[in-house]
Amino acid sequence: MKIAVYWGCCIQANQFAYEISLRATLPKLGIELVDLSESVCCGDPVKSVNDFAADFLAVRVLAQANLTGLDNLLVPCNRCHFTLSEAQDNMKKKPQSAQKIINLLKEEGLEYNPNIKIWHTINLLHDHVGLEKITKAAKKPFRGLKVATHVGCQLIRYGDLGRADDAENPRKLDELIEAIGAEAVDYAEKLDCCGAALMRSHPDSALSLAGSKLKAVQGLNVAGLVVSCPDCGLMFDVKQKDAGTIVGAKFDVPVVYYTQLLGLAMGIDSKKLGLQLNQSPAEKLLAKIST
């Protein structure tokens, strides 16, 4: 499948590892990525300031996707995925503001296409590529490797919008882990939030949320924490030390993107998956895989 891809700000600004590993793995699974011609914010951080302007930005991204002539759009960031999905829904439910947005787009020579299907990494791999194909592509399955997963809030809620997985019992990321031979352990804090959205107003509380979850994961005795959202990645990986300071703990939890783990299972070199860019001790995970 040829699919347009919208990266969003966080991935492009600092979560390079996610972008690198997506670009390295998806084409090998028959997914051709087509970048949009502009990089503009999805509107998520603007919601709190002016929700109309946020919707405008989100719909503008969909109009950019429309320029590619493709009906499918990959949005690998949970927050962008939620923002675009909700804006698409608002275009149906709020006809008055929808018309205003369409007029604004017209001034820029852009056109909204309501039929673009919005995908996330997780449901694209799980529902479109399929577990069977992924298992086949995993030439080096990780037998006996145990990891914890963190799906993230905005990918699974709220259900009325039609999200990538179930809101209370998401299974797809775990099944994708199992497809490459590893085991995803269940744990009580699995659905707990990473806290990223509080970084702008209450950074200590945000880090405390990330820290509590990392504490739980560290106690599981797993090889690492697997994420699929750049905001969650930022909180658990980049901010791991800061989170430890706030909750009074010393963490050494390898945090990796699912696509990095998938790439390793497919036999792709760790450098080509950006594993040197993770701030958490990814080498601990790599050592477990190579033995």
Binding site: C9, C10, Q12, A13, N14, F16, I20, D35, L36, S37, E38, S39, V40, C41, P45, V46, K47, S48, V49, N50, D51, F52, A53, F56, L57, R60, F82, K94, I101, L104, L105, E107, E108, G109, C153, Q154, R157, Y158, G159, D160, A167, E168, C193, G195, A197, L198, M199, R200, S201, H202, S205, A206, S208, L209, Q276, L277, N278, Q279, P281, A282
Partner: protein, 169 residues
């Protein structure tokens, strides 16, 4: 000022309440019967004492005058559990977003980061500029050295259109 103070001293402002309802585009809010499912699952409850059911009740009672200037509306972590679990589709998260918008409109105290982001988007299109990151081995990496494509800025028409959108209320 705590929420209890707001409840006992404030006077209802139904005009403002109606504006919030209009902004939400639906009236499900009034169906809230205070089951407190939202608050019992709220991520921000333990840390910052956010009680979404109280905010919904205050808005329903029309006691909205002081909410936009209260810090409590900025404690929501947007995990969306309250939207998911509300049996009446009152959706406290959306009420909180509407109150934040009102805070900005009225010039109330807003966490600086939010306003900075708007000017950042206006300037470059992105909410945060591409950074240089330092790896575990203390090497500095940017998009170019990571062999990632260059960021493509928006065309010139973007600024004017975004400014127009920001003027909408």
């Amino acid at each position: 000022m705590s929420l209890v103070d707001l409840m006992s001293t404030a006077k209802p402002n139904f005009e403002l309440r109606d504006r919030i309802l209009l902004k939400l585009g639906r009236k499900d809010l009034v169906n809230c019967y205070q089951c407190i499912k939202c608050t019992s699952g709220c991520t921000a409850l333990k840390l910052l004492e956010l009680k979404p059911h109280e905010i919904v009740k205050l808005v329903n009672l029309g006691l909205v005058e002081d909410l936009p200037s209260s810090d409590i509306i900025w404690t929501c972590v947007t995990c969306l559990k309250c939207v998911q679990r509300c049996p009446q589709k009152a959706s406290p998260y959306h009420v909180i977003i509407a109150l934040r918008n009102l805070a900005v409109e009225r010039g109330a105290k807003v966490p600086e980061g939010y306003l900075k982001i708007v000017s950042q988007i206006l300037e470059s299109g992105l909410a945060e500029p591409p950074q240089k990151i330092v790896t575990r081995k203390m090497e500095t990496v940017d998009r170019e050295s990571a062999k990632l494509p260059k960021i493509k800025p928006p065309k010139q028409t973007f600024q004017a259109a975004f400014m127009k959108a920001m003027e909408e209320k």
